[in-house]
């Protein structure tokens, strides 16, 4: 097990009702597995999960990517800056 930090931005912050949390996950857990854990904990995230962007240590990550120890993970919608 190891602890990761999760950040929520924009709609995800609103839906999660928080801007960050710390979470213990199993070594070798993937992004896809993390999403399942998060939806179980925060059902409000489910609706938008098919349209989620997720980063690990400030780089885009995808369902099959393994989450490294102590990672900074962020969840957010497609970007709308400019």
């Amino acid at each position: 097990m190891h602890t990761i930090k999760i950040l929520f931005f924009a709609t995800f912050r609103t839906r999660a009702g928080m801007s960050s949390m710390e979470l213990e996950i199993k070594n070798g857990s993937t992004v896809g597995e993390l999403k399942e854990i998060l939806v179980a904990k925060i059902p409000a995230l489910e609706a938008s999960l098919h349209h989620t962007l997720l980063s690990i240590n400030r780089d885009f990550a995808f369902d099959e990517d393994v989450i490294p120890e102590g990672a900074e993970v962020a969840l957010f919608p497609p970007v709308s800056g400019g």
Binding site: L7, F9, A10, H51, L53, F60, P78, G81, G82
Partner: protein, 162 residues
């Protein structure tokens, strides 16, 4: 010897000073700068869609921008690197996103590229820069209109090369 080419990127709550930014990416060999700035529209007349949802012409009172700042800075650097990889003529690059509460007519974003001459890709590089920023730099805006407030969501889904 190739001089060091300046690359500026920042997420800021301050006013965007175009004069200063262009000055910072102007070298002795520079003869041309192409600059893009985006502003908050108070009136949107074009029909559009975001995330498959159509939106009608509407008025905007203001926008609130937020960013995942450390990642946004890394992605801005990546946009600059991509520009240099595509146009080796580019000398200086500035990329700035303003965040916070921003009213109509206020510049919110700037991309500027300099080169020795204007026919070396500066215009294309600046266009590429703003297109990429709007795809991969983690910034979001919430729109406040006379009828309520709503997060604006983009459409682009990044892939492993982003």
């Amino acid at each position: 010897m190739k001089p060091t080419f300046p690359t500026i990127f920042s997420i800021t709550e301050d006013e965007i000073d175009i004069n200063k930014l262009v000055e910072q990416i102007t070298l002795t060999s520079t003869g041309a700068a192409a600059i893009f700035t985006g502003m908050v529209r108070g009136k949107t007349t074009r029909e559009g869609h975001a995330q498959g949802i159509a939106y009608a012409p509407h008025d905007t009172d203001y926008l609130e921008y937020e960013a995942y700042i450390p990642m946004a800075e890394e992605k801005m650097k990546q946009v600059a690197d991509e520009i240099r990889a595509r146009w080796d003529t580019i000398e200086g690059i500035a990329i700035v996103q303003r965040i916070g509460k921003l009213y109509p007519r206020t510049p919110t974003v700037l991309i500027a590229c300099t080169a020795s001459h204007r026919d070396t890709g500066v215009f294309e590089a600046a266009r590429y820069g703003i297109d990429r920023l709007k795809e991969i730099v983690p910034v979001w805006k919430k729109e406040f209109t006379p009828s309520g407030e709503e997060w604006v969501e983009g459409e682009y889904m990044p892939n492993k090369n982003d």
